[in-house]
């Protein structure tokens, strides 16, 4: 029988792999404090906190930030509704076309973003739809649906159908069962899905470059700065903001899904 302890080689390879995943992020934080603004010289010649104030006062950062938050909030809301409905339908056993619908849900993230982006763009141009905040939201909601759907359907599959039957037996109609039985059990999964969708949308850049027209979301602003650096440490400050705004929902989503494993009737 194989031993229950991992070999040293395996441990080292796993640890090295994880370190490879995490160390680069640390540098983003370090370079936000460097006094060197023209190059990425390492080690930084000196440390300063002035870039946070500079970033705060830069007028070109605030509109993209607000636009990104707005887009992410509305796209998440749409994805929550559509994703939950899709999960509700697909969790109800087998029906004709089920596999095709499941594939259609995955397609926006299984196909490269550039495909989704140019497809939406050519559709907008054929239909003469002007670019606006709504065209950005449209694209984002499309690939956020599957995130909510995945979270919701995983929870629905774990949940026992018996609690729904019990609810009906006790005289609740479909809407009461939804409100008082299904929603409380689904709640944390939806919240988690919504947070991941928010993080995904807040950070999205590839599809957005095709659907934004003249407007800039925060990632588009960052991309501009990456191609044509202006004040490099300011970009780092913004990168930290983006990182934090995406990581907090991810951590919350993780806690929610971990704690939510004790679903009512889950031990069927």
């Amino acid at each position: 029988m194989q031993s229950d302890r991992a070999s040293f080689g395996l441990k080292a390879a796993a640890a090295a792999g994880l370190a490879f995943l995490h160390l680069p992020i640390v540098l983003i934080f370090l370079y936000a404090f460097t006094t060197e603004e023209k190059s990425y010289a390492f080690p930084p010649p000196g440390l300063t906190t002035k870039w946070f104030a500079v970033a705060w006062n830069r007028q070109d950062i605030w509109p993209p930030l607000f636009l990104s938050v707005q887009v992410a909030l509305i796209a998440t809301l749409l994805a929550l509704i559509l994703g939950t409905l899709a999960a509700g339908a697909l969790s109800k056993g087998r029906f004709f076309g089920q596999n095709q619908i499941a594939l259609l849900l995955i397609l926006p993230i299984a196909l490269p973003g550039v495909v989704t982006g140019i497809a939406l763009r050519s559709a907008f141009s054929i239909l003469d739809i002007p670019y606006s905040t709504w065209t950005i939201i449209l694209g984002h909601a499309t690939f956020c649906i599957v995130i909510v759907y995945n979270n919701a359907i995983a929870r629905m599959r774990r949940m026992s159908g018996a609690i729904l039957e019990a609810s009906a037996d006790l005289g609740a109609n479909a809407f009461q069962t939804f409100r008082h039985v299904l929603l409380p059990n689904l709640g944390t999964a939806l919240l988690a899905g919504g947070m991941l969708a928010f993080a995904l949308s807040f950070d999205e850049v590839i599809v957005t470059t095709f659907t934004a027209g003249q407007q800039a979301t925060l990632p588009i602003w960052m991309l501009e700065e990456l191609v044509r650096p202006h004040q490099r440490p300011v970009t780092n400050v913004v990168a930290i903001v983006v990182f934090v705004v995406t990581v907090i929902p991810i951590l919350l989503a993780y806690r929610l899904t971990m704690r939510g494993t004790e679903t009512a009737g889950g031990g069927k």
Binding site: A14, G17, A41, L85, G88, K92, L104, V115, I118, M222
Partner: protein, 334 residues
Amino acid sequence: MVLPLVQRTIGPRNIGLAPAASPGMTATLPMRGPGDGLTGLFWRRPKLLLALLIAPPLLWLGVIYLGALIALLWQSFYSIDEFSGLVVPEFTLKTYAELLKPQNLDIIVRTVSMAALVSVASGLIAFPIAYFAARYAKGRWKAAFYLGVMLPLWSSYLVKVYAWKLILAKEGILTWAAGATHTTSLLDGLLAIPVIGGNSLSTSYIGTFIVFVYVWMPFMILPMQASLERVPTSVLEAAADLGATRGQIFRTVTLPLALPGIIAGSIFTFSLTLGDYIIPQIIGTSKSFIGMAVYQFQGTAGNVPLAAAFAMIPILIMLLYLSIARRMGAFDAI
């Protein structure tokens, strides 16, 4: 959403009572409003509820997403007038023939080979992490591993790319580290390799490759880990009892059983590399990839039909890839 297995007017209480009940004493409860009426309707016609649930997401994805993809396909059959630069809205295969020009074929070959290499490298780096997390990590360690993979997977794409620009830049940390450890000659040797080398790591294929692997590798770990967790310990014990060595067990039992998960993971690494246009634009040579070609042809070049035709390549490759992956059982591993 709710499966009204028992409907108000014909609930089990009533069914139980029904045979004994006299004709004048029906056991149905009074209707309390339209909610009850609808519940009854859904109970009698479950398909109706199903249709109501699936209609909004299906309409959204069907009309907006599939519609957009069809619009794209349509445009790829148009062509551009070489003199006026305007799109000629007539059906032609001319644009697809243009894909076969040497410079365009180059782009396709370059992108597909990069995607394949990135997937293989991601698999190799991801495997020990997934294997350790699936077989040995317990309790808190398991949670830590999961979070350790989830965080880089979900955290900002651009921030990650930017971090590597800092690392790979000529004056950046890697050059410094090589100097500090007296391995500058090694780094220079690496950069001197024809084709994949370059002026600095941030302007070479090696740089592009590293960043691709870094950004997409986490997508490989989770499906891999899930499929490794499904390999039953009893099968491994049986193999050991029958005299297989660790290596044999790994090659003939673990690996084949975990293969669907590995393929499922490679769907993401392959597809995401295939369509990416930001990484090669920021880190790498100025040589074009499919995603960059799509972006440039629809933007500055104004050749939407050719951009559309280029975009069809990742779609076709991925559809083929997905159908093969499906046959190998990869979809159960996602």
